[in-house]
Symmetry: C2
DNA sequence: CGCGGGTTTGAATGAGTTCAATCACGGTGG
DNA sequence: CCACCGTGATTGAACTCATTCAAACCCGCG
């Protein structure tokens, strides 16, 4: 529950009670192995899922195998809040790492939230942020070069992780293969690799088996025109 | 109000009363000339806008002039429902054609909606649809070829217009230059032109100064893998 | 040791861009 | 009525960024 609390409580002071009411809701904890599906395409979901630990992706596979990742889901992400009776999932969700999930009935969740204005406001903010992230993704893959795309996404993930862990560091632990980057950014794996090599050569980042270190955040942000404001993290007490 | 009513009432039987309460809300009607800005980037908006007539775009301009259109907004679109006190617009909104807008105070709107469960549900559905459209846009520009992109967007706009006008025709009135297509799809104007020419040659569409006619919907949908379900128009009584 | 997943590198290819010229068309002013 | 714009569409040629294919490499693991 901690990550969700961080995420949701980020925008609104929830106080003890209203958040407790969420965690008290009947639920099941499930786990998924890396690569396992959480929501299949076409499935009718009447659950809300909350990621407790691990990474997941929302994506779409085209007939000939091309894959587009729509967004990354980090701990605290809650998804399919939107789905109800008739809505069929138009995208699939899969675990990237081992994932621990909390699953609640949509109806319970909606009722709990709608009864508590503070909670409702908090989730409203979460939805604002999520839409902004989608829009930014559109700009990224629509009009940015490979180098900009990769850098921009790295900086976004870095910030989003920072928001969860409540401290901003220069090291990004990326527990997944470059193919995910490729499919998120609309690039080929080969080109992602080349681009990372170039970024290394320019002294922006350094890589190690464990992840990627950001060496020159300012130059990098400047280069790829990253402005973290769309993440709406202002209220976060971070070293900026 | 008609377009909004169509759009919102699409999913939920609103009944007379609950929708009336929306139209009765204090508001201003404004108009914008083609190209005029409706919401500037960075602006703090505490209004909800509803497009009564005309087309608008939500977009982002990068420093060097590249532009990415995030989505098209048709009559009945309501936007910046999400914005509140602190949120600054991270994208601009402009009129494409002459646009007539209804502007209401966010607070009034929110209150009206939250007091009426049916309205709230209806707007919930609108939000679901809008998110799905954004996701589809991501897949489109991330992993589809130019030909697929153009066709897919044409079919989407065709359907969305059909939903507003309550009848599906093969003729799409596109009152804007190809540059908009280019900037929506992450392509150059030149290439959009070439692609349209190719589609014409293949007998999928025909163009005239007034717009574009879809000649072979099925083949086109098949070719670009267009599946209208993400628009959630099932309940619409359309010839399909 | 050899296998397998992921990364890197090179060379060839290709889809889409850029630049520049031409065309089509509607509006304006002489 | 016609010359002259200006905006947007189209076409051609050169170019470039990114893809594809294929080989090599790296490394952890059975």
């Amino acid at each position: 529950m901690k990550p969700l609390r961080n995420r949701v409580g980020h925008y609104v002071d929830l106080g003890q009670e209203s958040f407790e009411s969420l965690s008290a809701l009947p639920h099941r904890i499930e786990t998924r192995r890396p690569g396992e599906e959480i929501v299949a395409i076409g499935e009718t979901v009447d659950y809300v899922f909350v990621i407790e630990t691990g990474w997941a992706i929302r994506y779409r596979i085209l007939d000939d195998g091309r894959r587009q990742i729509v967004n990354f889901m980090l701990p605290g992400a809650c998804f399919d809040m939107m789905s109800m009776a008739y809505a069929k999932a138009d995208h699939a969700v899969s675990a990237v790492t081992e994932v621990r999930l909390r699953r609640l009935k949509s109806a319970d969740f909606l009722k709990a939230v709608s009864m508590r204005p503070k909670l409702a406001t908090a989730f409203w903010w979460v939805a604002i942020q999520e839409e902004a992230i989608l829009r930014e993704q559109i700009v990224r893959i629509g009009r940015r070069s490979a180098k900009e795309r990769v850098s921009h996404l790295l900086l976004e993930l870095n910030r989003r992780i920072a928001a969860i862990e409540e401290k901003l560091t220069d090291f990004i632990n990326l527990p997944f293969p470059q193919a995910l980057f490729a499919d998120a950014l609309g690039l080929s794996v080969v080109h992602v690799s080349r681009t990372l090599t170039k970024l290394k050569a320019e002294g922006m980042i350094s890589t190690s088996p464990e992840g990627i270190e950001i060496l020159d955040r300012d130059r990098m942000a400047e280069m790829c025109d990253f402005d973290s404001r769309y993440l709406h993290l202002e209220r976060l007490k971070l070293v900026d």
